[in-house]
């Protein structure tokens, strides 16, 4: 993948309809990171304080929801008078750093634009049919596998016509007849196969910073919560690994100290006594395969070509030199088709771009009329013939 303008990348690379139908990977985005930090405090660490002899789970709020949702919370955090019940933990998202510094955490892999990731390499669905044609194992007595025995006629070599309900091939392949070189085995014989390569784009890195506030009524509760957090730090640093719902592993880096800037113990003459401890958490994450309205599916599937084929063509009419197709010609070529993608107008295998000169003689007036026509090719090996007044005959094929 070449260097492209970022804004164009999503549009260009993920055009087309070659997204695999039976394969997908979970997405990760900002919401997944938010959810991961929320669940870290709400479920994984599970802060509890003792109050009136009973253990009480500390509610966690992702600051802050809509009013109607807060006043009707299933797990109420307010009393009947709509006053918050302490203790509480609030998580508020702050910066989302998409620069190379990533909130000074950097990334473990290159920040710059890279090639797409190949995440799966598997046999294509079409490989089964292809294997029946090339008959790698040299099977002779199976109707759905190509064999020389299935030809109706020996001429022209290697054979012509196929018996009903059987298949054969004119490929120069020794395996259409049983040979000593054929290997009959139940083991995998990968090589001449059609492979499907599935790619995802390189992730976009973001570092998300959160402000966490422990809001308690009593110092004892505050101590319990802070200690619960501290003993859960893993490794040598102040960090805790977390996992998103999609299974992506991230690390939450905690930045100290626990600031008590919200605490008003030095002067609460006209206020209630408040004990608040604030600290921040930074999670270096990334965005991969987001699934939003308007976004294309970012998983792409490509199929390998086990055979390369070059053909030499001849035609009766005079071929005009190739000229770039003009817009009007493009439209005309597809006038009877429903295009769903702008790239569909590009030539695909089996089509050629030459223009031939066709002279038509009027049988009554004997006048001649010259027309320039696009041509369709005929490819018997692909099993298809496109009817056209200007058929190009393939006279030779070089395969590798």
């Amino acid at each position: 993948m070449g260097h492209q303008i970022k804004g164009e990348k999503v549009i260009k690379d993920f055009d087309g309809n070659n997204a695999p139908e039976d394969f997908d990977i979970p997405s990760i985005g900002i919401e997944d990171i938010d959810r991961a930090i929320f669940e870290l405090f709400d479920k994984k660490l599970s802060f509890e304080v003792k109050h009136k002899g009973t253990l009480q789970k500390v509610p966690v709020i992702f600051a802050s929801g809509e009013r109607f949702a807060l006043t009707r919370r299933k797990n109420p955090i307010r009393d009947r008078e709509n006053t918050l019940i302490l203790p509480l933990i609030s998580i508020m998202r702050q910066n989302i750093d998409f620069s190379p510094s990533q909130s000074n955490k950097k990334t473990a892999i290159a920040f710059r634009e890279q090639e797409n990731y190949v995440i799966k390499y598997r046999l294509s669905e079409r490989d089964r049919k292809y294997q029946n044609i090339i008959n790698k194992q040299g099977i002779k007595h199976q109707d759905n596998v190509s064999s020389q025995r299935h030809f109706l006629s020996n001429t022209p070599a290697p054979g012509f016509g196929v018996k009903p309900d059987t298949i054969s091939t004119r490929r120069e392949n020794a395996n259409i007849q049983f040979s000593a070189g054929a290997k009959v085995s139940l083991g995998e014989q990968l090589g001449t196969n059609i492979f499907e390569v599935i790619q995802v784009p390189y992730p976009e890195f973001v570092a998300v910073t959160y402000d966490i506030v422990f809001w308690t009524q009593y110092m004892q509760q505050s101590n319990q919560m802070l200690e619960t957090l501290l003993v859960n730090f893993t490794g040598q640093g102040e960090e805790i690994p977390i996992v998103t719902m999609g299974g992506y592993e991230l690390v939450a880096f905690f930045s100290g100290p626990f600031s008590n800037s919200g605490t008003n113990l030095d002067n609460f003459t006209e206020d209630e006594r408040i004990i608040k401890h604030t600290f921040s958490v930074t999670i270096p994450g990334y965005i991969l395969n987001p699934k939003h309205p308007g976004m294309p599916k970012m998983v792409r599937s490509y199929v390998s070509a086990p055979n390369l084929s070059f053909g030499v063509y001849s035609g009766d009419a005079e071929s005009i030199n190739y000229q770039p197709e003009r817009k009007g010609e493009t439209v005309k070529r597809h006038v009877l088709e429903d295009l769903t993608n702008i790239k569909e107008h590009e030539l695909v295998r089996g089509e050629s771009r030459e223009i031939i000169q066709n002279t038509i003689i009027n049988p009554f007036t004997k006048s001649t009329k010259t027309e320039f026509s696009k041509i369709r090719t005929r490819n018997q090996r692909a099993g298809e013939t496109v009817a056209s007044s200007e058929i190009i005959e393939e006279i030779e094929r070089i395969e590798s």
């Binding site: 919401e31 959810r35 802050s64 929801g65 809509e66 949702a69 807060l70 006043t71 009707r72 709509n82």
Partner: protein
């Protein structure tokens, strides 16, 4: 004033006269849309719901303090933004089983408002169990936040059938009037202190103007 002079009967009297003023004289109302927490799909982390589902709207009689729209000009250009205050009698809400919660929505005219607060503003003669009224402060909600059917009256600039209210019918403590269910309760009459009025709810409507120039007081007894 002490409880020695303000007995529950006086409290009922005060509430009934307040209802009489609001429902039988003033005739202002808002349409209240309680958001259904059960029916709305609320995001479990963000606690928000772009597609809110509301219960059936409720017509609430109240006094509305209209305030002109605030004109804001900022980096996005100019916009008009309404704030409104509605004073709703606490006893009336109690009678109808309505709980005003922050985050619900109401319409007044053609504008929708989000309830940002609704404190019980006063008690009746300091008796804590008898709240006088609540003051609902509504901030205009944007279209992406809430949208529902608009109930009139809205504006005489519009041509909708209900854009201008031509008929006002009193409630006078009757379960229903000509326009339908009222849910109105006058406690003194419920308790048998007062009898029902001899005549029913009166109305101001086109029926009261024989020249068809506009609505006027219509006395059903003279019909």
């Amino acid at each position: 004033m002490g409880r020695f002079f303000i007995t529950p009967r006086e409290i009922n009297f005060i509430n009934d006269t307040a209802k009489e003023l609001v429902k039988d004289v003033v005739g202002q109302k808002i349409y209240y849309f309680p958001i259904s927490e059960v029916k709305s799909k609320v995001h479990d982390v963000y606690e928000e719901s772009p597609d809110k589902v509301f219960e059936n709207p409720i017509e609430i009689d109240c006094l509305v303090k209209y305030q002109p729209q605030e004109i804001r000009t900022n980096r996005f250009g100019s916009e008009e933004y309404y704030t409104v205050e509605a004073y709703v009698q606490s006893r009336d809400l109690l009678d109808k089983g309505i709980e005003v919660l922050e985050g619900d929505f109401f319409s007044y005219g053609s504008t929708f408002f989000e309830v940002i607060k609704g404190p019980a503003t006063n008690t009746i003669f300091g008796q804590i169990e008898h709240k006088s009224y609540i003051t609902i402060t509504g901030k205009q909600s944007r279209k992406g936040q809430f949208l529902a059917k608009i109930f009139g009256p809205t504006s005489e600039a519009y041509s909708d059938a209900d854009a201008v209210q031509e008929t006002f019918v009193q409630q006078r403590g009757f379960d229903k009037n000509r326009l339908g269910e009222t849910g109105d309760v006058r406690q003194l009459r419920e308790n048998g202190v007062l009898e029902d009025p001899i005549t029913g709810p009166k109305e101001v409507s086109p029926k009261g103007d024989p020249r068809s120039v506009g609505s006027s007081f219509y006395d059903e007894g003279g019909d």
